[in-house]
């Protein structure tokens, strides 16, 4: 079994279009949630989301490439480019042939699909655009990264709703740890801001009309976000041998299924995933000082997650700091686990824990230290990143500081 280092990370999100911007806004507690600007929301019951602003696809991609890239695939590729560049990957034929890519996405390119169907249903067209399928397939992001870098090993996409990219990173971690792949690019991307998707979320009655206030007594639901994040994973000894500074180690991955309800979360399912991640890390629960929570800001998730943390950590839960960065970058669904993995790793690296923004009032059912509103300077040894999905599918990642 190899120790696995993260040597590169890339991000595009409402909280910043690269790793540096992302960390500056998270560590200063600034929320990127605002009124949706990319489409007309006059017929929507909610108006706010965390959109990627100031992003110009034409400056990132050639017109020819862009014609093949839904917004979610653009996010996958731009974040992968940043991650590969930071890792300074030294390509060889063998590395290209055996490296892995695992991406997560809940919706894939459903925005492009909607655009095609819109023509069919509203304009009485009899045809849809011939690229509707390759644009909308959920593996498009992984395939474009594969083609960009000539990576020919295990390349696939996981779709487990809001846990997608945490499952993706966990599987890539296990492939590198076991020696199955010499390097992996893993993460996820999501572009959920299109009318049909927003309307479907509206009907679920879980979207806040205000903002995302995780763990706060007056929380009123989640706020959708968009973006992507990718990590480069490689054996620690390989990274050190080629003189690359590891950003952190990924040490554990735990999965579980609630097997109970399609939308209501279970504290026991969450707790089992956390216990599995801790056991997989080989570390003691007391070595973990921070949890980047799933923390969606819904009544059900937040109290269930806190109960799950108490069940998994026992008395140590009271000695940990917990925050939800979704309060700032929104809930990016299939990209959430990857964005939060980056936030977790940067927390370890900088010795600063990002806050839960928009917090106003304590909730007796969420009575752990949730780092309200202001970042905290604390060096922790290790942290967890929680992701829990509709359908009861849970994925938890464990990271350790590399010092």
């Amino acid at each position: 079994m190899r120790r696995v280092a993260i040597t590169g990370m890339g991000v595009i999100s409402a909280s910043g279009r690269n790793q540096g911007e992302f960390w500056r806004t998270l560590s200063t507690g600034i929320s990127a949630i605002d009124v949706i600007s990319s489409l007309d929301v006059s017929q929507m019951r909610f108006k706010n989301a965390a959109e990627v602003r100031g992003y110009d696809p034409e400056s990132e991609f050639s017109p020819k490439d862009l014609a093949l890239l839904d917004r979610f695939a653009q996010f996958a590729l731009t974040s992968a480019n940043e991650a590969v560049s930071q890792a300074g990957v030294e390509w060889s034929d063998d590395l290209r042939e055996r490296s892995a890519i695992v991406t997560g996405s809940c919706l894939g390119g459903r925005g492009s699909e909607e655009a095609g169907y819109w023509e069919l249903f509203h304009h009485n067209r009899t045809r849809v655009h011939p690229l509707t399928i390759p644009l909308s397939m959920s593996n498009a992001g992984a395939s474009h990264i594969s083609m960009r870098y000539g990576i020919q090993g295990p390349v696939y996409t996981v779709s487990t709703a809001c846990s997608s990219s945490a499952h993706a990173i966990g599987q890539a971690f296990w492939m590198v740890r076991s020696g199955m792949a010499p390097m992996a690019i893993a993460g996820g991307s999501e572009a959920p801001i299109f009318i049909g998707g927003l309307k479907a979320w509206e009907a679920m009655r879980v979207i806040s009309k205000d903002t995302c206030r995780p763990f706060s007594a007056d929380r009123s639901g989640l706020v959708l976000g968009e973006g992507g994040a990718m990590l480069v994973l490689e054996p620690l000894e390989v990274a050190l041998a080629r003189g690359v500074q590891p950003l952190a180690e990924i040490v554990g991955f735990g999965m579980s299924s609630d097997a109970s309800h399609i939308t209501q979360p279970s504290p026991e399912g969450a707790a089992r995933a956390m216990r599995n991640a801790i056991a997989d890390s080989g570390m003691a629960a007391e070595q973990f000082g921070y949890i980047n929570a799933h923390g969606t800001g819904t009544q059900a998730n937040d109290r269930t997650e806190i109960a799950g943390i108490r069940a998994a950590f026992g008395a140590h839960a009271g000695h940990m700091a917990i925050s939800s960065t979704k309060s700032m970058h929104g809930h990016a669904l299939g990209a959430a686990g990857a964005l939060e993995a980056v936030a977790s790793i940067l927390s370890l690296r900088h010795g600063i824990l990002p806050p839960t923004a928009n917090y106003t009032a304590p909730d007796p059912e969420c009575d752990l230290d949730v780092i309200p509103n202001e970042a905290r300077k604390v060096e922790v040894e290790a942290c967890l990143s929680n992701s829990f999905a509709f359908g009861g599918l849970n994925a938890v990642l464990a990271f350790k500081a590399y010092r």
Binding site: A203, M204, R205, S220, H261, I262, Q264, Q299, A300
Partner: protein, 87 residues
């Protein structure tokens, strides 16, 4: 005489839950009718369609039994009648 608002609410719930109409009464609790959070979403959706009204998320969360649900729908239907022009 046309069906009362209460009667229509009970019918929507009975249909959605596939229950005999006589088993759905104003004094029934959600628990008795085995109505969970997802069933409530479906019922709210069907009630919005039945009465052509919009039910606010936060108001809907406060409703804990059928009597409150019927009262809420009556309030919204009356408010709609008063705001629309007579013809």
């Amino acid at each position: 005489m046309s069906e009362s608002i209460q009667g229509r609410v009970l019918r929507v719930i009975a249909t959605k839950q596939r229950l005999p109409i006589e088993s759905v009464r104003p004094e029934s609790t959600f628990e008795e009718l085995e109505i969970d959070s997802l069933d409530r979403l479906n019922i709210l959706f069907d009630l919005e369609g039945e009465f052509e009204i919009e039910i606010d998320d936060e108001e809907a969360k406060k409703v804990t039994n059928l009597r409150e649900m019927i009262a809420g729908i009556e309030h919204l239907v009356n408010a709609k009648a008063q705001s629309s022009p007579t013809d």
